[in-house]
């Protein structure tokens, strides 16, 4: 038993660590020196953080809204719960292609609607703003479900007598939400923000599917850190040593973000009196 565990643990650890330290041919810190002179890397990192800046609040707000709505005792609430969860089980590739079609410049239904309302169609994939909007919408749509369920579960754990006391003191629903729900929900909120941030920093599927490497826009507007890493390592001749260095940058960044968030958590997250 011990040995089996040790073996599994080792294989898995080796899967992770092996080769993470650069090229077979020893190049010293050359790869790392290249990082600083790489414009594309700068673009990729800037895009990644820009997307995260929009996506994380988007996911949190949509998830909070849906979680509060799921809380309401209305008829059809189980149907609503199923609908909320639907994007999480729909195959992401299929959903991403679907949005590619909705945002399509010439024939997409969104531009058709804009035209119908008298506006001029937008070239969604031709500008930085357009790509940011598209990516944000898709990622929020694809990833709000799980956070919603987690927040919903968190809201259910809040004891109802706290609400009763507040109601008796004359707090309205909005007041109750901001002074009770949000603070008492902060552990779940923290978890949701952390996981969403990390997964956004790893964003790949949306940009890969909608902005294939051949398109010029992919190199400017849709390049994320992982996408860049993929292109370096597996397109053309492949530059795996350098790609590994890029991945180490990403690794350090994500770790740094996590550490910062855990620090902030101590300040803002409320774990209850005995927690």
């Amino acid at each position: 038993m011990f040995r089996f565990y040790g073996f599994g643990y080792n294989v898995w650890l080796s899967l992770n660590d092996a080769g993470a330290f650069g090229p077979p041919k020893f190049a010293g810190l050359d790869n790392y020196a290249r990082l600083f002179a790489d414009d594309q890397l700068g673009v990729a990192l800037a895009n990644t953080f820009k997307f995260a800046l929009f996506i994380v609040p988007g996911v949190v707000i949509v998830a909070l809204l849906c979680a509060v709505l799921m809380q309401q005792k209305v008829r059809g609430s189980s149907a609503f719960r199923a609908i909320v969860f639907l994007p999480a089980v729909a195959l992401p590739t299929a959903a991403i292609l679907l949005f590619g079609w909705i945002f399509q410049t010439q024939y997409g239904i969104l531009n058709a609607t804009i035209r119908g309302l008298g506006g001029s169609p937008v070239s969604w994939f031709g500008s930085a703003t357009g790509v940011t909007v598209v990516v944000t919408v898709i990622v929020v749509f694809l990833s709000f479900s799980v956070p919603t369920i987690i927040l919903y579960a968190g809201i259910q754990d809040i004891p109802s007598d706290v609400y009763e006391a507040a109601s008796i003191d004359g707090a309205g629903p909005i007041r109750r939400f901001f002074s009770i729900t949000l603070p008492l929900l902060s552990p779940s909120l923290f978890f949701v923000i952390l996981t969403t941030t990390i997964s956004t920093l790893k964003l790949f599927d949306v940009v890969y599917i909608l902005l294939p490497p051949e398109l010029p826009a992919s190199a400017k507007f849709g390049l994320t850190a992982v996408y860049y890493y993929y292109q370096l390592a597996f397109l053309n001749t492949g530059d795996r040593g350098y790609a590994s260095a890029v991945s180490m940058v990403l690794f350090v960044l994500i770790l740094a973000v996590s550490v910062i968030m855990f620090r902030l958590q101590r300040r803002f997250v409320h774990y209850g009196e005995d927690g």
Binding site: L15, N16, G19, T93, A94, A95, Y208, Y229, I254
Partner: protein, 273 residues
Amino acid sequence: MLVHNRPRWWVYVLIIVVGAVILAPFAWMISTALMTTGQTLKVPPNPIPAPATLDGVGEVFTRIPFFTLLWNTVLASAGRVAGTLVVATLAAYALAIIKVRGSRVILVVILTLIMVPGDIFIIPNYAIISSLKLTDTIVALILPSIFDVFAVFLMYQFFRGIPRELVEAARMDGSSHLRILMTIVVPIARSGIITVALLTVLSEWKELLWPIVVNRSVDKLTLGPGLALLRGAYTTDWNVLMSAGVLAALPMVVIFLILQKRFIASVARSGLK
């Protein structure tokens, strides 16, 4: 006294609006899937296909080996769930029940690794798989991911709730660890195990980067990456693309609708720290 807040009318309105916004893209997907290519290129588009046709659906099967992809997806999911469960139960048993020496250190390592994105280890993983001559196989798709730290951690949490007395009593009776695991721990932690299994299936369906890197031939891919390939070659036939999307998304949606409660409970648990 319980406060019964009667939902107000605007709550209903909000629920309906939010529900409709979520469903609308899917509706558009299905309706595009039932159009001919010509109908998809109408300006302005007609939201309801008239007449509805299954041409697009038929075309899917000639362009991609749909059933092969589906079968691969099922195989990969099943294999990955089985592998993950074996690794995670054994590891969690060692950590939570036997409490092997150094389990605290191992736990800290696991918690740190949960934060580390697996995607950045693609190059080393690829090197290992290709040195094992496993590229272009289904095994390659799942081998790196069955050593799933998050699953180990979740399982550890579930196993920790098992009363020590039960395990110790069985030890006294001379049961082996494997026997205790199978006859005591696994039955008690059943719902936790289902949780890990469902979450694993969900994450296998989301895989994209790893499959396209490790398997170059189409008939060794799963549905997600297989569909992505369809994009590259035939950008304009949106009816075919949408048909493929509907067909590919359908199995999981059906499974979800059947097991809805389990799915939601599983996800809710994954958030508990």
